[in-house]
Subunit: 317 residues, 4 copies
């Protein structure tokens, strides 16, 4: 059995595990804090994690290391172009890691890695045409078409959170206005709740209570909790966000025609509270809906392990 | 030398030629009127064309026939799902043709075929990541990613003209509102000119004159002609459409990250009059433009032969 | 008792009646076809109508004549600036009428006249701050603020149908894009139904049946009828239009802060089927709704007589 | 000569002066800090100011006191409905002041007062149809129609900053999305500059330098300064904001048909750098521009004194 190690580098922690060819993590996931603004220290942590996991798996051969990283990775998978959360840019990360692990190394954007994992082993398994949409604070994504991960020419494809759904719309940190992630993310969910609390405090009473009466302290997990408890104000927020989620998927379907969308990220914890309005909106907005086969919309299955599993599998192939 | 025949079935005419492995058409293109609402008659014409071309190329072996068709082709390239302009739907066209030509047959959407041709032999040659955008009456497109034509799961990918650029925007024949093709097509160019003529007849004086003073008779070719002659009203129309062209490409780049966009169709006859504002708009609107490599925007090179060449080459592979 | 005559000049007919100071029409309304493209003939008809009505009311004194006209009337109420439906522009209509009737004459835009009537004697009586919104083929309006009809500096105030609700939105005959009347009118209702029929023929089955299966023949009255019968597709169309009606009123309320909106025109025949979603949308979209007093939204009471009554009353004051 | 006192209560200071019937301030303006969250203390300051100004003008009779206040004033001009910047709501301010000054007292919203001043004595003098648009941090306004200040039914007319220019647009503190003030205000100007600095640091180099390289520290006055010095990046920001200013005015003109717009507030300090693109945009976007008389767009003349002058004059009438 050919095993590989998957490493998922997020803004706060490095998580890693040994993954088998069926996408299963063998043994426990190991975790370390992510060093920031220091590429050598980051490579050191990855080196240490790999040594630790190899020692643990003495009876197995580790064939390669895959690293998923929260940032842009260049077309050759050699350099980090920009990883704002890690404080790194234009950094030859792959070579740094290679010097420490003495194994083949593949570096990939973390959302791309997660998309690959879901397409191969998760909610999209069995399909060659899968789009992962990650609804966290922002919106990320990964595209598998024709059975292959689509990285684009320069490695930055699938920035689906930054296609524009509203011309002249809400400001985005990327410097544009109207990006999908301003309407379909956790941040958008909070915005809906805050707007509701501003304009209709009665309807938002429960949400306000969960935030100790302070509009600026309304948080996503509390909105989800309130919605799961049936609070009408919270449900309204999810309906609004869900409509945008489905509308954006309709645009992606016009371009990509996938078999299924896999929805991950914290906002998707609400399950059908989010996905039911998203599906209705998708069905209503997708072009050619009277004749085309409609893509499925499914919840991600691999959760926070998707990055590890996907990176490990990309290193295998 | 292994030759194939390419057949391009448009709303009014069937055009076909013999194509060599370098994408060159050998000899003349033959043309026949397109039969409408009659799949058998259409297959007859294709059969006749193939016979004619084979007879003409006695010394060469024809290995296969590729057919590009203005309509949706299903995932197996077996059936026409819908070809509104031909009056056909849910039709087993591939089998009908096969019965007549005794050669391997590949059927593909015409814009997909054209995209393949431009990516292999035209403005996108040398690149594995090419998006063709065809600005005709409407907006069509084709996507080549990772060196392969991306058809999507159900064969209807690259309907780029029907992703939404304006929520609640202009009505589209597809039943949606705000589709890109309502802003970036020849129809959009005419709309700009008509609106200008309504609101500022002085500025639109030349355009009106070319239409004999009748707003409803303003046509695309005349706007192009006026723009090429330097008419300020016509140039303003192209600037407006060009801005939408570039804005839509910015969204496509966020999703697909191509190396180049190839722009074809009648509106692109205006050349840089259209492409200069399109490029400026693209540069201004694409996410991450401070750090990413920007895609090129190029004029298509194969013109009306792209469909023949692409279909023929798809039949070869 | 001081009586006046009110004349309402529409695109197809001239209607007139004798009106008392309480806004009641005494006796029957007389009607004639509207002459087109001929100002003298139009003045002749008005002259004839006035003679006829005066003869009929021998025992009463007629003090003045008020004329409501479907077009722009200048600041001095002397000239028609543009009345496209009548084929007239820049025409000294008031003087023409005066020469024929030997009475004081006041000419006013017909929607302004109707607004005055509703504010004085109809759904807005008792209030000094009333905005009439007429939802016909297009959207018209009239503004009464501070107890007075607001004509604006040049006589063209209250063109509420042509304020923009969607930037880059649907094209409008005025040459702009996104005008309110493209979303909140009878034409918009038909557009909703046609789009539904295109994208979801099952849901639009009843609507299609009423139009003999031809999307282009769907008409407003049939949509209203279907909605009144409870057809879900038709109700969905009214909900969509009603949302835009309320949203536009929210913008008008931010600017004008009226006590009530009076909704007239053919689309308002659907009553609460239209007004319920309009009210919900208004309540949801108006700025400051947590603290402000919300304007009422009421159905017009004077129907097709509003123009006559308003014009007559404006002639009195 | 009948004099009145005008008091302008802003978020940080109370400014007051004696005003003659021609709108001139006699002698110096007196200033005190604004007490916050304390209506009695605020009334005390106003009382003290009035005493001080009356003593100073011993030879003149003061006939009344007008107070302009940054907040919503109710329909009877008796109560503050909400003055968020002063920390007051539902407060009987007029009665509190009356008890201290022993003179007739009129309280009005400060933007309404300023509009009245500009219409009577400033850039709009001579016209009965004037709309003031104040471009400060947000966007405020006042409407004079038919020679009278239009307060609306409940005193909150002319909240022009909160009519919606972009459906689903930028979030606004009022809880809505797409309000005009998010596109046409000082805040919008800063947003443009920040977005430019994010996406095109080269073009924004001068702006960034003025903010010590920190995008979040870009401020309006520096953008104005840079624009006045000819910096292309700053000029681009003003063109963008100016376009929205003109577009909003086009909508207001469709509704109100004023003779002129008077533009005040800090953003208007840039003069024609702002107003030239605003005028071009207005001319391009106003409905019926081929036939209507277009409103003038003028810079305010009374500057920071408009509130004092307007309040004083409203107290006189």
């Amino acid at each position: 059995m050919r095993l590989t190690i998957g490493v998922d580098i997020g803004g706060t922690k490095v998580a890693a595990g040994v993954v088998d060819p069926d996408g299963r993590i063998l043994g426990d996931v190991v975790r370390y804090p992510t060093p920031r603004n220091d590429s050598e220290a980051l490579a050191d942590v990855i080196g240490r994690v790999v040594v630790e996991l190899r020692e643990r798996s003495t009876d197995h051969d580790i064939a390669a290391v895959g690293v998923g990283i929260a940032g842009f990775v260049d077309e050759d998978r050699a350099r980090i172009v920009l990883a704002a959360n890690l404080g790194l840019s234009d950094d030859p990360i792959t070579e740094r890691i290679r010097r420490r692990v003495d194994l083949p190394v593949v570096v990939e954007n973390d959302a791309n890695a997660a998309a690959w994992a879901e397409a191969r082993f998760g909610a999209g398994r069995g399909s060659d045409h899968v789009v992962l949409v990650t609804l966290g604070t922002g919106v990320g994504g990964g595209i598998v078409m024709d059975g292959r991960l689509q990285r684009g020419r320069y490695g930055v494809a699938a920035e689906v959170g930054h296609y524009r759904v509203v011309r002249h719309g809400r400001r985005c940190g990327c410097g544009n206005n109207g990006c999908w992630e301003q309407y379909a993310s956790g941040r958008a969910l909070v915005a809906e709740a805050q707007d509701l609390a501003t304009t209709d405090p009665v309807r938002a009473a429960h949400l306000l209570k969960l935030a100790d009466g302070d509009i600026s302290r309304i948080r996503g997990p509390e909105i989800t909790q309130a919605a799961l408890e049936g609070d009408e104000g919270a449900l309204e927020c999810f309906r609004a966000v869900g409509e945008w989620v489905g509308l954006g998927m309709a645009d992606l379907a016009a371009i990509l025609d996938p078999e299924c969308f896999v929805v991950g990220g914290g906002v998707s914890d609400a399950g059908d509270i989010l996905l039911a309005p998203a599906r209705a909106s998708f069905d209503k907005h997708v072009t050619g809906r009277a004749t085309r086969r409609l893509a499925d919309i499914r919840t991600a299955e691999l959760g926070s392990q998707a990055g590890i599993v996907g990176a490990a599998d990309l290193a295998r192939t």
